[in-house]
Every structure is written in C-alpha cells, then in structure tokens.
Assembly symmetry: C2
Homo-oligomer: 326 residues x 2
Amino acid sequence: MANVTIKDVAKEAGVAVETVSRVLNNRGYISQQMKDRVYEAMNRIGYTPNAFAQGLSRGKMNCIALIVPHITHPYFATVIDHLEREAEKRGQHIIIYNSNGDEQKEEYLLRLCQNSLVSGVLLFSADISADALKNLQLPIVVVERTGMANSVNIQCDNRLGGELAACYLLDKGCRDLLVLGTLNNEDMPGDSRDEEFIRICTAEHAQVHRYQASTRQYITMDYHACINQALDEHPSCDGIFATSDLIAAQVIQECSRRGRRIPQDLRLVGFDDVPLAQLLTPTLTTIRQPIDRIVSTALDAIERLGSGHKTTSDIVLPVTLVERES
Amino acid sequence: MANVTIKDVAKEAGVAVETVSRVLNNRGYISQQMKDRVYEAMNRIGYTPNAFAQGLSRGKMNCIALIVPHITHPYFATVIDHLEREAEKRGQHIIIYNSNGDEQKEEYLLRLCQNSLVSGVLLFSADISADALKNLQLPIVVVERTGMANSVNIQCDNRLGGELAACYLLDKGCRDLLVLGTLNNEDMPGDSRDEEFIRICTAEHAQVHRYQASTRQYITMDYHACINQALDEHPSCDGIFATSDLIAAQVIQECSRRGRRIPQDLRLVGFDDVPLAQLLTPTLTTIRQPIDRIVSTALDAIERLGSGHKTTSDIVLPVTLVERES
C-alpha cells in the first residue's frame, strides 16, 4: 500500500500524472467527472498521499494550527472554512484550538504548537502581548494586531471600512448615528473602524455616539444589553454601524422589538460579510472582509517564514461595501 | 524543557499535582483565578504537555479527525465547537476535513486518517456506503446514519423531533402545514423527522405537504427556490416545520418578503437549536439536538473502540422542543 504512487493512480485512471496532481492539489479547472475518475482510481488501488505526519522526517508536520477565541462566532467559522480549503490546496492539514480569549491559554497553546512541530500557527488574539511571541521558534501569523514581534501581522483595512460605512449612511440621509463595537484591552486595528466612522460623521456635522460592549459580552456573543442602552439613550437614531455582522443581527432583533423598521426608520451597516449577513431579515448591508485573501496571505507568509525567507511583516488587505436590504 | 513535569508545575504554582491535572483536563470546578495561576506557572517554567505527536510512540496520534460536508453550516460549526471543547478535556487534538459531501473524497479522507494514525474519526456523511467502511482499521463514529459496518452510529431521536414539532404546531391551532427538508440519496435517519411529522398531522386530519430541497441546495445552503415553491403552492399555510434552523432562517426571509407575519399569520419550528436560532428575528422555536452529548458519546465510543472494547453500535439521543418567538 505504501508503494502505490501517483503514477499508479494515473495509470489506473487512464490520465496524465499532471492531472492526478491537479486533482490532489485542487489546481486549475477540473471537471467533477474527472475528479470522480481520479478519486475512484485512488480508492480502487488504495493510494493515500500526504498523511500529516509524513513531513516528520523533515522535522515538521504537514499541519497548520489555528488558534481562535471562538468557534461558533460566524467570523471564525468562516475563517475555519476558508483555511481548510486553502490548506487542502497546499497539502496541509489543519488543527483547531479554542483559546476562549484567555491570554495565558494562548501562550500555552503556542508552546504546544511549537512542541508539536506544526508548520505554522495562525493566531487570532485580542490579548496576547508582543512579548509572548518573542522567543518562539515557529512561523506565526497574527490577524488583526499590529507591531507584534517575531511574526507576520495581517489586518483588513479597518479604517476604510469605517469610512465606507459612514459615507454610505450619510449618503442615505442619516444624521443621528450610532456606532457599536467592542472595548478591547489592547490597542487593536479594529478600533479604527469606529474611530474613522466617528471622524467622518463629525466632519459632516452629523450626530454620532459610540457604544462599546465589554470583553465579556464579546466572549459570550451577547450584545443585547449594550444595544438596548444605545437605543434607549438615542431613540431617534436613524443610522447604525455595527462593527460585526453578529452585533448587527442583534440590532435587528432589538429594533424589531421596539417597532423600529429597518431600513424605513433606520439604516444598518454591519462588518465582516459572513454567511449570517445573508440569512438575516432584512438581509444585511455590510463591509466585506476578504477572509479568503486573509487566509491565503497568511499561509503564504507561513510558507515563506518556514523556509527562512524574509517577508513583509505588516499587511493590510482592502474591504468593500456590499449593499443589501438593511 | 522536555524534562519539566506536572510535578514541577504544581511546585511552581504552589498547588497540588491533582489541581494541575484538573486544570489541564478541565475536570470539576476550577476558578478562573486558579486556572490563571496554573497556566502562569506552566508558562514560566515552559511546561508543555501532550503535543499531539507524543502518542506516536504508542502508534497513535492524540488526534481525532472530523470529516464534515460543510464548515460554515451552523450545525457543523456547532459540532466543531463542542468537539474542540470535549477533545481538550481528554487531551486530544482535532483535525478538520471538509468533504464537500463528495462520497469519493470521504473514502479518500478515511484512508488518509488511517495512514495518519489518528485515534479515531467522527464522520458526518449523507452518502458514504456501508461497504466503504468495511476494511478500515480505525475507530469510526458515523453520525445520523444507521446500519453502517465497522463503526458506531449515533443519531438524535429524529422521530421524536418530528412528533414534538407536529404536536406543537397542532396545539397552536395550525391546520394547513408544510414540512421542508432535504431529499437524500441514501436512507437517512433524518428522513423520519418529516415522516413522523406527516404521520401525526395526517392522523389529526390536518392538511400537510412535504417539500424536499435537492442535495445541490443542501450543499450550497440556499433553500429559497424550494421555499418559494412551497409558499406559492400553499399561500394560506399556517404552520411550517423546517428540518434545520438554516432552512428556517430562509423561511423567515421569504415570509417577510410576502408580508406574512411570524407568528401572527403562520408559525415556524426549526430543527437543531444552533446559535443562529437565537440570532433570527423573530427568534426561532426549534427542536434542540443534544450536540454536546452527541460529541461526548462519539468520543467515548472512539476511546472504547481504540482500546479494543465492544460498544453499543447504534445510539439514539433524545431531543427537546425549545419555545421562542416564532
């Protein structure tokens, strides 16, 4: 079984070796019929490439570890989805850890990953200190943080996101605006979503008020208390920028309970553009994060770091506004 | 670093060895303060237990592989979340594969897992044949299938779910009912959600019509065409049983577009009780799957199979109705 090669698969399927390789690596266009033919041939002769411990002979597992503070949060569920697809294309496997946003546990998991000889780590953390990464010897990409030592930092263009949201709502005639976000312990690039939104609204002489949920609310994913306070204090607001689609879903609920119609009475813009945005009623106008590009850029960086190459350490990827019903 | 033991951690933290072990295994009640104290001690002295290749000396990785047809589908995102938590308690790590519901790829991934020496596989598949599992030599749990060879099969009590949904809607006075599900290639336990619902509605002389989305719609998670056909053909229906919360979310959208109010004009019951159910407007009355118990029962079965013990091969876990606004 161990001696069966990609050449045997090609022979069994009656196709070129290059075709088998393209199916295995999901490269270029391959018809479903061709995929089936190649997988059937592999299954018939028992070919199994790329078990994830195979790389151990080179001192590395063919594994990327993902560390996130949440798994069911729609943003991280989408990250996991894209990471699995992108890793598969590269013959990598993914291991998933939930840190529950606990900084101590994040440090522990990073050392665990180092001991496990994974190819690299993709870390989402609001709390980890720059110091904690200093002495680690494995490729690390940190998303939505800046200035972290010994790692590549990737973020979406949060400032542009705040600008797009502000311009859209002002353009629709909103003059009494709210921005709902999360209060972070550390400086996060994501804070500039709110800041830029406020800057532009203020420059345009519109009213704008900022509310920030606690870290606890972020971890429990329950923003209703913060949203209700904002709506109680500003009952006539006509435009809301929620800095995640998850917050926006809960804004829709609270507005519905108050009989405030979206978009007739007030308009709502989210952030992320995860599948949830299309499942809400009304469907959500939102700022789209390029999660697919964040993930592929992260894997590129891990590859480059792993092979000892230098790579850009701070990467910013663009966002766009997706207009739907809200 | 490799010589640092759990005893050293206990000494450094000034706690009992048993306490460190409880923190590591998430066993019993441990205060956040105690967790921090233990993790901090581990981080100070560089203790890292349980790298996932550690078990290789025993011929097994400390890894559970999860194979699902979707990752962002809210049911599977919830499964991943519970699996990560439950695996952590047991000192196991999880590797995630997306089969895209492709039977050939599922077979391929199973052989890959066998070659990778994982402790076991948790497989969600609508298509895999009983034959495909026959010759594999690793612990396999298949969820929501029955009669699969060489594996443990776990399902929720789908029949009870259909019954609870029917009784609830009839009790609320609904007499013109729809059930919306997915048409499967293979016999699936999930089919009895619809069947039992129809049986009870018919026995109570209520009108009931069944609509089934295609496998293609299931994979793309877009049920709007099927829902619109059902609502076009039964404009006066007063109760809908959607066999997943994801379908229910899209029913809410289509009803809103038609100006049909939930629950005033018609009532809606979902299935799964994933976080999405609480994010919809109105919040969703649904049948709760015990996803936490499905996952822990699966890991129990993998442990028993791995140590050569016999175990029950068909397990059915109960469901409950959760009443919300719909």
